[in-house]
């Protein structure tokens, strides 16, 4: 089994769930950059799902993995059907076969019952007190990555300089123990290459001083990247200083490095249409089930800081979350990727 070598520094992501609008620009940026080859059709290293929801792979939160009391607990290997998607369509039949209206655009490959964003905008509650929000997910580049430890071939490692979880595809044998160990189920299998694959934090971009595509492309200014120990950076301030950004399912024991600013929502309505001022639209218990007990404090801090701004007072948290300049999202990885001549080393 692989051993986890700790890195000197750790890169981390923050997503503000109050600003994410579920536009899928991050997903598409990632897909177009990394998952266009044969064997990657069903892969979405970056996904955005509606919560509450079953997510991708379907019901991944029930599949196990991670650590219990510090002991690795292998979970389930999700099936292709549970990941969903991977759709291709009968474009030729519809557009070029001359069948006219008897043939419509249909899926001819991939899952019949699920997709990476199948339950978009469904959420929970009852009208008019329904609720939902968007949750972007990628590899958490965990500090205690169960996947690294589970690999029988030592194909996975944490980069010593930045903590990204990387895969040596020449060494990977496709055993998929990593995918069983990962409680977030963010590791995919490439049937064409016979190996597993996952988000590598846009490592080649990071090496060149360019932020990952998911962060750089976010039109909502809802995503940040940066080193957790960079006290002046937005990520560190949101996570360490103000504690308004929390990991997802910290109880799974892998110490994930993707953090979320929890969503606020308008108060619910009473049956007569008046505001239920003391009520919760998104139940705090639901937020706790995702982000742990600390989420209450994070929500309180956010509300207090928003109130400060409403009173015209200064608020460092709100200034960071507003992100007046988009370069603030990049944690210093602000080089323009268009300036770089990328070497493909014949790998295509």
């Amino acid at each position: 089994m692989g051993t986890i070598t700790q890195s000197k520094r750790q890169l981390a992501w923050v997503f503000d769930l109050n600003k994410c609008i579920g536009c899928q620009t991050c997903s598409v940026a990632c897909k177009v950059l990394w998952q266009q080859d044969k064997g990657t059709e069903h892969m979405w290293w970056m996904t955005v799902n509606t919560q509450p929801g079953r997510g991708t792979p379907r019901d991944y939160e029930t599949m196990g993995g991670g650590y219990k009391d510090g002991v690795a607990t292998p979970g389930k290997l999700p099936s292709p059907e549970e990941f969903g998607g991977g759709w291709d369509y009968n474009y030729d039949e519809v557009l070029r076969s001359g069948k006219g209206r008897t043939a419509h655009l249909e899926k001819i490959a991939g899952s019949k019952t699920w997709g990476p964003n199948w339950d978009e905008d469904e959420g929970a509650g009852e009208f008019p007190n329904s609720y939902f929000f968007y949750l972007p997910r990628l590899c958490n580049h965990c500090t205690v990555p169960g996947c690294v430890e589970a690999c029988p071939n030592n194909a996975l490692s944490k980069d010593p300089e930045n903590g990204l979880v990387l895969r040596n595809e020449d060494v990977c044998q496709g055993a998929q123990m990593c995918a069983q160990a990962c409680p977030y189920k963010k590791i995919y299998f490439n049937p064409s290459l016979g190996i597993s694959q996952h988000c590598i934090g846009c490592f080649p971009r990071i090496e060149q001083g360019v932020a990952p595509a998911c962060v750089r492309q976010c039109p909502g200014r809802a995503a940040w990247i940066g080193f957790l120990d960079d006290d002046r950076g937005a990520v560190s301030k949101l996570v360490n200083k103000w504690k308004v950004a929390l990991p997802l399912h910290a109880e799974w024991g892998t110490k994930p490095n993707v953090f979320y600013v929890p969503p606020l929502a308008p108060v619910p309505l009473n049956p007569d249409g008046t505001f239920n001022e003391g009520g919760e639209r998104i139940p705090l218990s639901y937020l706790k089930s995702l982000f742990g007990e600390q989420v209450g404090g994070a929500v309180d801090t956010l509300k207090a800081e928003m109130d400060k701004r409403r009173r015209g007072e200064a608020s460092e948290v709100m200034d960071i979350l507003v992100m007046y300049k988009w370069e603030e999202a990049l944690g210093g990885f602000d080089r323009d990727p268009a300036e770089i001549v990328w070497s493909t080393n014949g790998a295509g």
Partner: protein, 521 residues
């Protein structure tokens, strides 16, 4: 809402108001042909002459403001045929596409409509309200050629494809679709001229007042083989027309308005003797002209735009829908419309020259709509039907732009869907993801159900843009919409309520169409 803002003094100053979606900052492109020759001296001469001509045309009333002069000049240009032959399409639909019956159907109309739709329409024509919109012409002239450029009318036409395919298509001798998509209208065309997608050519994003910037979109990749920039497609057609006109010795023709057109040397005339044929030079000239017209800072050029990406506007130019913002653009200040009216006390371009909500036109009085008033939606689609269908924009594409793209399809259901409330679905035994049929009095479509408690009970939501051929049978949202036009839209000859191209005219309502939803057996 506007009345409330008006009554409470909540517009025309910072922190107030609503923002209409309007485009502007296009004068460099709009006036390229009129200025006649390359260079910004030509642009300045043209715009000086245009301003003089507008003043001269409106000299009978020296009290007209810049806004009023601009609108009146646009109206006069429409009457003279100076803006090309735009028509309010409602008259074409009425006379030739079979909408007459639908618009006369009392079920589709508000109970306050006292006479038949025909009577209102005929009266509006007889009183000359729509003469400049060529309403009379479309009683007689039968369209023979259809050119669709990025339009996809078989998807978009409120009222659906069936009327178009039954009533219009048989008359057409040739149908051409210019598009970067293989869309449903393309499937019903004789020719498809494949056009470059946005990143395959140079362009600029929609110059919207929401961001007040000229945003350059540079070419990222070459278009695929056989695909051309839409400008080059247009020039190619012009070249061919010139060539065929010479071969047939049909060098001139006179249109229905008596305007004579010369077909000799038109490629050179339209391209400034070839100057505009080069894409980079054309964009550079457009940006420099925008600077000459005061829309962009004086040093603006393609090079500057490439360096900065976006250049903030400095003015509105001379196009009406920009000037209609009626507010001076100030550096580092939020734009709020109407400040000329509220701060500078410039009269509003209305009948009374004030912010006018009272419309004492006889039809508005008859309908009880002389003031803004709430009325229940008309019964279009079938008043007894259970649901009201509304629309909205999806999040993963812009309108229909990449709706059939494999990657984007994988980011949602990957098939057309309709939101329905969980209780409504339960009552009808509809499962999440199941195909259902949506029915109105004018047609039906098949679509999958997506169940969400965030949908109001009694409502169904269908995002706009699903391509008809994504649906079984190829019928989509527009095919259950009657495409109903409200008779008060025919009013003209009343101050600000009169026809100008792209402005006031009868338009179809597609909101709250009454539909039923049934399981597909």
């Amino acid at each position: 809402m506007a009345l409330l803002l008006g009554l409470t003094g909540n517009w025309g100053k910072q922190g107030t108001g609503t923002r209409s979606w309007a485009i502007s900052g296009l004068d460099g492109g709009s006036f390229m042909r009129q200025k006649g020759r390359p260079g910004q001296d030509a642009a300045r001469e043209w715009v000086t002459n245009l301003a003089k001509a507008r003043r001269m045309l409106t000299a009978d009333d020296p009290t007209l403001t810049l806004e009023m002069v601009t609108y009146r000049a646009a109206q006069m240009a429409a009457e003279l045929g100076g803006l090309g032959r735009m028509i309010p399409p409602a008259f074409l639909w009425y006379y030739q596409y079979g909408y007459k019956e639908r618009w006369n159907n009392p079920d589709n109309n508000d109970p306050s409509m006292k006479r038949t739709f025909d009577e209102y329409l005929n009266e509006s024509i007889d009183r000359g309200w729509w003469d400049s919109g060529l309403a009379k012409t479309y009683r007689e002239v039968v369209p023979r050629v259809l050119f669709e450029a990025g339009g996809n009318m078989l998807r978009r036409q409120r009222g659906g494809q069936r009327l178009l395919l039954d009533k219009l298509w048989p008359d057409l001798k040739m149908i051409v679709s210019v598009d970067f998509r293989m869309n449903t209208t393309g499937m019903y065309s004789d020719y498809i001229l494949p056009a470059a997608q946005h990143y395959e050519k140079m362009g600029n994003s929609m110059p919207s007042v929401h961001h007040l910037n000229f945003v350059l979109i540079d070419q990222a990749v070459d278009p695929p083989e056989d695909v051309l920039n839409d400008y080059d497609i247009g020039i190619g057609l012009v070249r061919k027309i010139e060539e065929r006109a010479a071969a047939r010795e049909m060098l001139q023709f006179t249109d229905r308005n008596g305007v004579q057109h010369d077909l000799r040397d038109i490629t050179n005339k339209l391209s400034m003797d070839g100057f505009l044929l080069d894409e980079e030079r054309r964009m550079d000239e457009t940006i420099k002209d925008d600077a000459a017209y005061g829309i962009l800072p004086p040093d603006s050029s393609l090079d500057v735009a490439r360096q900065k990406g976006a250049i903030r506007w400095t003015g509105w130019g001379l196009v009406g829908h920009g000037l209609g913002q009626a507010s001076t653009i100030k550096p580092d200040e939020t734009h709020n419309p109407f400040r000329w009216h509220t701060e500078d006390k410039m009269p509003y371009p209305t009948l009374t020259r004030r912010a006018q909500f009272y419309i004492d036109h006889e039809w508005f009085l008859e309908a009880g709509e002389e003031f803004p008033v709430h009325k229940e939606p008309p019964g279009h689609g079938g008043p007894a039907r259970q649901f009201k269908m509304t629309s909205g924009h999806n999040r993963w594409s812009i309108h229909s732009m990449n709706m059939t793209n494999n990657i984007l399809l994988n980011t949602h259901r990957g098939e057309p869907f309709m939101f329905i409330n969980n209780r409504d679905a339960e009552a009808k035994g509809i499962e999440n993801g199941e195909w259902v049929r949506v029915i109105s009095d004018v047609g039906s479509m098949q679509i999958t159900a997506k169940i969400s408690p965030s949908v109001r009970p009694g409502q169904v939501i269908v995002y706009n843009g699903f391509e008809p051929y994504m649906h079984r049978e190829w019928y989509s949202q527009a095919d259950v919409e009657p495409g109903h036009v409200k008779w008060l839209g025919l009013v003209g000859g009343y101050g600000h309520l009169q026809y100008r191209p792209l402005q006031w005219q009868p338009v179809p309502a597609d909101r709250a169409v009454h539909v039923d939803v049934e399981k597909v057996s």
